[in-house]
Symmetry: C2
DNA sequence: TCTATATGTAAAGTATCATTGTCATAGGAG
DNA sequence: CTCCTATGACAATGATACTTTACATATAGA
Protein backbone atom coordinates (compact mmCIF):
# COMPACT_ATOMS: atom_id res chain seq x y z
CA UNK A 1 0.00 0.00 0.00
CA UNK A 2 1.64 3.20 -1.22
CA UNK A 3 1.34 6.55 0.51
CA UNK A 4 2.15 10.23 -0.02
CA UNK A 5 3.62 10.93 3.42
CA UNK A 6 7.02 12.08 2.18
CA UNK A 7 5.51 14.65 -0.18
CA UNK A 8 2.95 15.83 2.37
CA UNK A 9 5.72 16.27 4.95
CA UNK A 10 7.85 18.15 2.45
CA UNK A 11 4.97 20.51 1.59
CA UNK A 12 4.76 21.41 5.28
CA UNK A 13 8.52 21.23 5.92
CA UNK A 14 8.06 18.69 8.69
CA UNK A 15 10.74 16.16 9.66
CA UNK A 16 9.77 12.56 10.38
CA UNK A 17 10.19 13.47 14.06
CA UNK A 18 7.83 16.46 13.69
CA UNK A 19 5.16 14.23 12.19
CA UNK A 20 5.76 11.51 14.77
CA UNK A 21 5.27 14.04 17.56
CA UNK A 22 2.00 15.28 16.07
CA UNK A 23 0.79 11.70 15.69
CA UNK A 24 2.10 10.65 19.09
CA UNK A 25 3.98 7.70 17.65
CA UNK A 26 7.69 6.93 17.42
CA UNK A 27 9.89 8.32 14.65
CA UNK A 28 10.66 4.73 13.63
CA UNK A 29 6.96 4.10 13.02
CA UNK A 30 6.70 7.13 10.74
CA UNK A 31 9.81 6.02 8.89
CA UNK A 32 8.56 2.44 8.53
CA UNK A 33 5.17 3.54 7.18
CA UNK A 34 6.71 6.14 4.89
CA UNK A 35 9.18 3.70 3.37
CA UNK A 36 6.45 1.10 2.96
CA UNK A 37 7.79 -1.47 5.42
CA UNK A 38 4.29 -1.79 6.86
CA UNK A 39 0.86 -0.17 6.79
CA UNK A 40 -0.50 1.78 9.76
CA UNK A 41 -3.45 0.51 11.80
CA UNK A 42 -6.81 2.03 10.87
CA UNK A 43 -6.93 4.34 13.93
CA UNK A 44 -3.44 5.63 13.12
CA UNK A 45 -4.44 6.13 9.48
CA UNK A 46 -7.31 8.31 10.72
CA UNK A 47 -4.91 10.35 12.89
CA UNK A 48 -2.60 10.80 9.91
CA UNK A 49 -5.54 11.99 7.79
CA UNK A 50 -6.55 14.42 10.55
CA UNK A 51 -3.03 15.83 10.92
CA UNK A 52 -2.88 16.59 7.21
CA UNK A 53 -6.51 17.65 6.92
CA UNK A 54 -7.11 15.11 4.15
CA UNK A 55 -9.16 11.96 3.58
CA UNK A 56 -7.46 8.61 4.06
CA UNK A 57 -7.99 7.94 0.36
CA UNK A 58 -5.99 11.08 -0.46
CA UNK A 59 -2.96 9.83 1.47
CA UNK A 60 -2.96 6.04 1.03
CA UNK A 61 -3.32 4.57 -2.42
CA UNK A 62 -4.80 1.24 -3.45
CA UNK A 63 -2.18 0.56 -6.14
CA UNK A 64 0.80 -1.75 -5.49
CA UNK B 1 -13.58 2.82 16.41
CA UNK B 2 -17.26 2.50 15.49
CA UNK B 3 -18.49 1.31 12.12
CA UNK B 4 -21.69 1.01 10.09
CA UNK B 5 -21.14 -2.55 8.84
CA UNK B 6 -24.31 -4.00 10.32
CA UNK B 7 -26.51 -1.35 8.68
CA UNK B 8 -24.68 -1.53 5.36
CA UNK B 9 -25.06 -5.31 5.34
CA UNK B 10 -28.75 -5.02 6.16
CA UNK B 11 -29.30 -2.53 3.34
CA UNK B 12 -27.90 -5.12 0.94
CA UNK B 13 -29.39 -8.14 2.74
CA UNK B 14 -25.98 -9.73 3.15
CA UNK B 15 -25.17 -12.17 5.95
CA UNK B 16 -21.84 -11.92 7.77
CA UNK B 17 -20.79 -14.92 5.71
CA UNK B 18 -21.77 -13.17 2.47
CA UNK B 19 -19.63 -10.19 3.37
CA UNK B 20 -16.76 -12.40 4.57
CA UNK B 21 -16.78 -14.22 1.24
CA UNK B 22 -16.67 -10.96 -0.72
CA UNK B 23 -13.80 -9.71 1.45
CA UNK B 24 -11.99 -13.04 1.42
CA UNK B 25 -11.74 -13.15 5.20
CA UNK B 26 -13.33 -15.47 7.77
CA UNK B 27 -16.88 -14.95 9.04
CA UNK B 28 -15.42 -14.57 12.55
CA UNK B 29 -13.28 -11.65 11.36
CA UNK B 30 -16.35 -9.86 10.00
CA UNK B 31 -18.18 -10.53 13.25
CA UNK B 32 -15.27 -9.30 15.37
CA UNK B 33 -14.93 -6.09 13.37
CA UNK B 34 -18.67 -5.51 13.31
CA UNK B 35 -19.05 -5.99 17.06
CA UNK B 36 -16.05 -3.75 17.73
CA UNK B 37 -13.71 -6.37 19.16
CA UNK B 38 -10.97 -5.05 16.90
CA UNK B 39 -10.38 -2.73 13.97
CA UNK B 40 -9.48 -4.02 10.51
CA UNK B 41 -6.04 -3.47 9.03
CA UNK B 42 -5.81 -0.55 6.58
CA UNK B 43 -5.73 -2.81 3.51
CA UNK B 44 -8.84 -4.65 4.71
CA UNK B 45 -10.56 -1.31 5.44
CA UNK B 46 -9.93 -0.38 1.79
CA UNK B 47 -11.42 -3.68 0.61
CA UNK B 48 -14.47 -3.09 2.81
CA UNK B 49 -14.87 0.39 1.33
CA UNK B 50 -14.57 -1.05 -2.18
CA UNK B 51 -17.16 -3.78 -1.53
CA UNK B 52 -19.69 -1.18 -0.37
CA UNK B 53 -18.67 1.45 -2.91
CA UNK B 54 -18.07 4.01 -0.17
CA UNK B 55 -15.17 5.96 1.31
CA UNK B 56 -13.51 4.59 4.43
CA UNK B 57 -14.70 7.68 6.29
CA UNK B 58 -18.29 6.80 5.41
CA UNK B 59 -17.99 3.39 7.05
CA UNK B 60 -15.64 3.87 9.99
CA UNK B 61 -16.24 6.71 12.41
CA UNK B 62 -13.73 8.62 14.51
CA UNK B 63 -16.02 8.87 17.54
CA UNK B 64 -15.64 6.51 20.52
C1' DT C 1 -39.45 -32.25 16.25
C1' DC C 2 -35.77 -32.06 13.06
C1' DT C 3 -33.00 -29.27 10.13
C1' DA C 4 -30.86 -25.28 8.21
C1' DT C 5 -29.25 -20.50 8.50
C1' DA C 6 -27.54 -16.51 11.13
C1' DT C 7 -25.13 -14.79 14.82
C1' DG C 8 -21.93 -14.42 18.99
C1' DT C 9 -18.00 -16.08 21.42
C1' DA C 10 -13.74 -18.72 22.81
C1' DA C 11 -9.07 -21.03 22.37
C1' DA C 12 -4.80 -21.46 20.04
C1' DG C 13 -1.76 -20.40 16.44
C1' DT C 14 0.49 -17.17 12.86
C1' DA C 15 1.28 -12.66 10.96
C1' DT C 16 1.49 -7.77 11.31
C1' DC C 17 1.82 -3.29 13.89
C1' DA C 18 4.28 -0.35 17.06
C1' DT C 19 7.55 0.15 20.60
C1' DT C 20 12.57 1.01 22.48
C1' DG C 21 17.29 0.74 21.67
C1' DT C 22 20.96 0.85 18.64
C1' DC C 23 23.87 1.62 14.60
C1' DA C 24 25.11 3.82 10.23
C1' DT C 25 25.25 7.39 6.70
C1' DA C 26 24.78 12.01 4.75
C1' DG C 27 24.67 17.09 4.93
C1' DG C 28 25.11 21.64 7.04
C1' DA C 29 27.04 24.80 10.51
C1' DG C 30 30.58 26.27 13.35
C1' DC D 1 37.30 18.22 11.71
C1' DT D 2 33.50 18.20 15.07
C1' DC D 3 28.78 18.54 16.22
C1' DC D 4 23.98 18.34 15.22
C1' DT D 5 19.95 17.00 12.60
C1' DA D 6 17.64 14.00 9.37
C1' DT D 7 17.01 9.70 7.54
C1' DG D 8 17.10 4.56 6.97
C1' DA D 9 17.46 0.21 8.95
C1' DC D 10 17.69 -3.84 12.21
C1' DA D 11 16.73 -6.75 16.58
C1' DA D 12 13.79 -7.84 20.31
C1' DT D 13 9.52 -7.37 22.60
C1' DG D 14 4.54 -6.75 23.42
C1' DA D 15 0.02 -5.68 21.40
C1' DT D 16 -3.32 -6.46 17.54
C1' DA D 17 -5.22 -8.55 13.53
C1' DC D 18 -6.66 -12.65 11.45
C1' DT D 19 -6.96 -17.64 11.05
C1' DT D 20 -9.30 -22.36 11.95
C1' DT D 21 -11.97 -25.16 14.86
C1' DA D 22 -15.48 -25.47 17.84
C1' DC D 23 -19.61 -24.67 20.75
C1' DA D 24 -23.80 -22.07 21.87
C1' DT D 25 -28.14 -19.61 21.00
C1' DA D 26 -32.06 -17.97 18.19
C1' DT D 27 -35.20 -18.19 14.49
C1' DA D 28 -37.68 -20.03 10.53
C1' DG D 29 -39.59 -23.82 7.90
C1' DA D 30 -41.03 -28.70 6.70
Amino acid sequence: MKNRLKVLRAERDWSQQDLATRLEVSRQSVNAIETGRYDPSLPLAFRIADVFGLAIEEIFLREE
